[in-house]
Amino acid sequence: MELNSRIPEGPIEKKWDKHRFDMKLVNPSNRRKYKVIVVGSGLAGAAAAASLGELGYEVSCFCYQDSPRRAHSIAAQGGINAAKNYRNDGDSIFRLFYDTVKGGDFRAREANVYRLAQVSVDIIDQCVAQGVPFAREYGGLLDNRSFGGAQVSRTFYARGQTGQQLLLGAYQALQRQVGLGQVKMFPRHEMQELIVVDGVARGIVTRDMVTGRIETHVADAVCLATGGYGNTMYLATYAKGCNGTAIWRAYKKGAAFGNPCYTQIHPTCIPVTGDHQSKLTLMSESLRNDGRIWVPKKKEDCGKPAAQIPEEDRDYYLERKYPSFGNLAPRDISSRAAKQVCDEGRGVGGTGLGVYLDFSDAIRRLGAKKIEEKYGNLFEMYERITDENPYEVPMRIFPATHYTMGGLWVDYNLMSTIPGLFVLGEANFSDHGANRLGASALMQGLADGYFVAPYTVANYLASTKPGSRLPIDHPAAKEAEAVAAQKVGRLLGVGGKETPTHFHRELGKVMWEFCGMGRNEAGLKKALGLIPQIREEFWRNVRIPGSGEELNQSLELAGRVADFLEIGELMCLDALERRESCGGHFREEWQTPDGEALRDDENFAHVAAWEYQGEGSTPVRHIEPLKFEYVHLATRSYK
């Protein structure tokens, strides 16, 4: 397998402009002869589908929810970054680029990150033009906040509902194209297979989730924008339906999987309460701007109400360990620090897996009213879930799986190792290296969808003949349909005793324990032994009532869990092979004496891209070396 990143020549700030000029265009009258499939209607998918439709291509867009407006992007709270420098605080495209490369712990491709920073500026303009109601100041201009440890205020936001507003903007643009007949929308359709002929992506097979019909859709190019695979961990901040199915099936057809082990564990989530827990809820990181994080210094104090623990007995551990960033230390670092204090037995709450996020100082300083203005909806959400009033008692938080930096490997054009298959948004291995900075996923999704794919997909289409689409009954399509149908049949045929959720939960426990915040060789090897056992048990003992010819939620879930049971294994394998610590990937064997991550640039300054070798065979690990010409390799320090 060849990993050609196709990074354009020239100085970094000229690459994208030059490339845009060098790429081929499709004649406007020819565009309607090309069809593009977009799987996913989140920020990346909706933006791409709408933009390609506007350009005149025929587009089919798919999502598993009942409406494209419900994609998981809707849940993003905090904000979106852009190098507008509206605050005059020293921000620039170069600084956003620099921060993102450094924040990603030097495991991202410089050229991609630079382009991301460049187009970030256009995203805000585009969204405002669509009517996205960003927060404004009294003068009517856009407001910004500092977010996720950035030292400039470059985050644009719409109350605590930024993702919702950005997605609705993209959704409305998409619906406009639906109304105009440019885009055909297929809600409640789940992608099952990718159709590949002679190594080129030619279409997909879907299951209509209402009727159970397995259908073929052919196109001249396929874009996957299906989001992250973090639900492999079972408990996560993802929506329940988020899955890895689309990218996994593409992987099995030859798309390389980049850095599967890079997962982000977000430090500020509401702790688990019991076995019934079905998901975890994120509390926006913006809370760390005013909240102070602490645990008791003494184990004995952990059971006491927070108010009874005097100031001198509290350990504000982030402020202590990282005096210059304090409570705003990056996500991977904050999460690990929380795990450490809990491992020491100093965690709070019923399970001992929690730390305090305390607003009492901020309330004293700014007044409860001001705090309510800033975080009212978040405080309300917290109270609704926990029945505790954070104005009176400190919040309790704990890290949870939140984002996957890994995903299908793509070149500079966002094309995977399968020609004609593009991957956008969180589904690709992306621009975030080993750790994503806050407010950068929304930026990347929209950058890919609005400003990159419309050019690069067109460039690809221009190299194919218009009207050369696969006939719908081509043997390859029939075969892919058969594979999808067989999978359904196989799942229904097991007739065991346990529910799909049971196996998902079991997998999650193994993943969280051995491939979560801290990883080590022995643990990963153990997980690599346990996961196949759970998988076997799944295929022997799962029970799915009902049939495949109707709406069947157990069947849908079982299909996703079957894939998670394979994805989890690849994540562990990748984590095992990456013998260094970087960003969200913390290998306990590689740490400094004071517990900080220790990178190994000599041996691991590369992307690991895994190639499928068939069932039962170990996949092959390819590497794409990373060069750092503009941001020089340095140890990340937030002290």
Binding site: A47, S51, E54, Q65, D66, S67, R69, R70, H72, A75, Y86, I124, D125, Q126, C127, V128, A129, Q130, G131, P133, F134, A135, R136, G139, G140, L141, L142, A158, Q161, Q164, Q165, L168, Y171, Q172, A173, Q175, R176, V178, P187, K240, T273, H276, S278, K279, M381, I385, D387, Y450, P454, K497, T499, T501, H502, R543, I544, P545, G546, E550, L551, Q553
Partner: protein, 261 residues
């Protein structure tokens, strides 16, 4: 404090759109008050699956009150007894030990039942497609700060934009009217300078689509506002009515564009 409840559920079961539906009774035992309402349904479903019975189908995704996917009528009220709370954010501490809980789908002609508690809300998407947008194709619009928006308008627009499109307003309305949903979008875009050029065509097109979808008319019951989990107010309906009247006065049939050249 965590407590445990024993409950009796009366759930609407309907195999598909064509089938007749009926209530079925299920016990829900040893339910922790820490659980969310949907987690309680998960527990009941796990038991049903283990017994080989068809689990209760219900829509959900984010489970944090923002995607608008979930929604059922709980004890006669859309999204259940707690104000400004979606079904997924409702917690079992809102119930008492021994409670009987009826659970039904949204009921409205424009929202046909697909299965059990799941309905088809595609009509909402079609209303948005008819005009619920600002025409701003991807490209290079002017700098975002070139168009200041008074903070008050921006805030009001955001209030309206908070709608999650769940459909509770329709389910609560005796006429199954979609006015709250439609007016929220009309308001949001109409309050912003970017939305002015299409302000009157937008309201006309959206209302026409709404009527065609079979939603009832608004007779000011106010049930929609009362059950809205996001606090969308009827003020939006007033704004929309105003725009709609103006739109009707302004209406001219479209003249064919183009010409020689």
């Amino acid at each position: 404090m965590e407590k445990h409840l024993n409950l009796t559920l009366h759930v609407w079961r309907q195999k598909n759109a064509q089938a007749e539906g009926a209530f079925a009774e299920y016990p829900a035992r040893h339910i922790s008050t820490e659980m969310s309402f949907l987690e309680m349904l998960d527990v009941v479903n796990e038991e049903l699956i283990r017994k080989g019975e068809d689990p209760i189908a219900f829509d959900h995704d984010c489970r944090e009150g923002i995607c608008g996917t979930c929604g059922c009528v709980v004890k006669g009220r859309p999204h259940g007894p707690k104000e400004r709370t979606t079904s997924c954010q409702l917690h079992m501490r809102s119930f008492e030990d021994g409670d009987h809980i009826t659970i039904e789908p949204w009921r409205a002609e424009a929202f046909p039942v697909i299965k059990d508690l799941i309905v088809d809300r595609g009509a909402f998407d079609r209303i948005i497609a008819a005009g619920g947008f600002i025409t701003a194709p991807t490209g290079t619009p002017q700098d975002a700060n070139a168009l200041p928006v008074p903070k008050q308008n921006a805030d009001l627009a955001m209030d309206a934009a908070a709608c999650i499109g769940c459909g509770a307003c329709v389910a609560a309305c005796p006429n199954a009217s979609a006015m709250l949903f439609v007016s929220a979008k009309v308001s949001q875009l109409g309050l912003l300078p970017q939305g002015q050029p299409e302000r009157y065509t937008r309201v006309r097109d959206m209302v026409a689509r709404m009527d065609a979808e079979g939603f009832g008319s608004c007779t000011n019951h106010g049930e929609c506002e009362a059950v809205c989990p996001k606090g969308i107010t009827m003020e939006n309906i007033a704004r929309m009515n105003r725009d709609f009247i103006k739109a009707s006065l302004l209406y001219r049939p479209e003249v064919a564009a183009g010409g020689a050249g």
